[in-house]
């Protein structure tokens, strides 16, 4: 398959604008469709590798991808343009939806529906965690680490700024000693 980088900053901007504009129910599938299938800016393998990196980095996955790809193609200007393109429309829509919702939020039925939607969103996270965690289930140290980190964050409610560096240090040591 022939792939070529975006021709201009405008091209880059509209591409990421299209990702943000259509991303109902999740950004990743639309990012794939736009970047790989429609605009053909990158190959499937390249996409997978880039997203893989961005999932390990802190911050929003696709937001990071917009920075990494924008930089690769147009340097600093590209990173800024891609990021703004990605965020512009969803930012306006999410605020508009929230303002619209706020007019009805005192209505108990509406609040019940929205709380249900939010809780289902929490369920999506749990499902994602299970999917990502499955390949780790065979490694005893990974399971212990996941359990310990979960207890610290979700049950004991220790500050994340403390838990993450400590767990990360332990995990790095374990990975270096081939326990992960």
């Amino acid at each position: 398959m022939n792939v070529a980088p975006p021709k201009s900053l405008v091209d880059l901007f509209t591409g990421f604008l299209m990702i943000g504009a259509r991303s109902f129910g999740g950004v990743l599938p639309w990012a794939y469709r736009t970047l790989v299938e429609e605009r053909r800016w990158m190959t499937h393998a390249d996409f997978t590798e880039t997203i893989g990196l961005c999932q390990f980095l802190p911050g929003p996955n696709i937001g990071n991808a917009s920075i990494v790809l924008g930089k690769r193609w147009f340097g600093l200007r590209g990173a800024i343009v891609a990021f703004l393109g990605l965020m512009a429309l969803p930012f306006v829509w999410v605020l508009a939806l929230y303002v619209f919702y706020s007019d009805f939020s005192s209505e108990p039925r509406v609040a019940a529906v929205v709380t249900g939607v939010g809780t289902a969103g929490a369920g999506l996270f749990i499902g994602t965690a299970i999917k990502l965690g499955r390949p780790l289930a065979k490694k005893p140290f990974a399971v212990v680490l996941i359990a310990a980190c979960f207890l610290c964050v979700a049950v004991a409610r220790f500050p994340l700024l403390l838990v993450v560096p400590v767990c990360l240090a332990l995990a790095l040591a374990a990975a270096r000693w081939n326990r992960l």
Binding site: Q55, G59, A112, A122, G123, F150, V153, L168, A171, L180
Partner: protein, 171 residues
């Protein structure tokens, strides 16, 4: 002053948000609801719900929290604070990542972060499903949704809609 505080705290969270926004949802809730009282637990889950149902990266939930705290300026501050430090890291690491393609350290880092990402996203889900005291109805909705996403590949919007229906019936 509130906005400065919000911005600085979210910027710190941005640095530890491996796995994206889900990872830092428990900490955001702890900070803006429990510690500062800027939002009630109900308002927090509802802002989260609107952010999930709207299109776009779910980091935009941060901008809704910012909006609640300080209007439009708050929305910009919260979103910028959540994205900028992480963007600087992404900018910087993407070069290193290619350069260290065959280094054992790169592999070690990848393997080390994986379990932490899993634990943090799991924590995010459980904390969001437990906004106040444990409530079996919320756990049922979250558990059913998690099971459904594992069993099918439908667009997650369908599961959010089903959650809304369950919410109307149960809550």
């Amino acid at each position: 002053m509130k906005l400065v505080e919000l911005g600085l705290y979210f910027a710190l969270l941005s640095l530890v948000s491996v796995g994206g926004l889900p990872s830092v949802m428990p900490e955001m809730q702890r900070f803006v609801v429990d510690l500062k009282g800027w939002l009630t637990p109900g308002e927090f889950i509802q802002a989260f719900a609107v952010g999930q149902a709207a299109p776009g990266p779910n980091v935009l939930i941060a901008s809704l929290i910012g909006w609640k705290v300080g209007g439009l300026a708050g929305a910009f501050v919260a979103l910028g604070a959540m994205c900028f430090p992480a963007a600087v890291i992404a900018w910087w690491v993407s070069d290193l990542w290619d350069r260290f393609k065959d280094s054992p350290w790169r592999l070690a880092v990848q393997r080390a972060i994986a379990p932490i990402v899993v634990a943090m996203i799991l924590s995010g889900g459980v904390v969001l499903a437990t906004p106040g005291r444990p409530d079996w109805r919320l756990w049922l909705i979250a558990g059913a949704t998690a099971a459904a996403t594992l069993a099918s590949k439908l667009n997650p919007l369908w599961f959010l809609a089903a959650g809304g229906v369950l919410g109307a019936v149960l809550l």
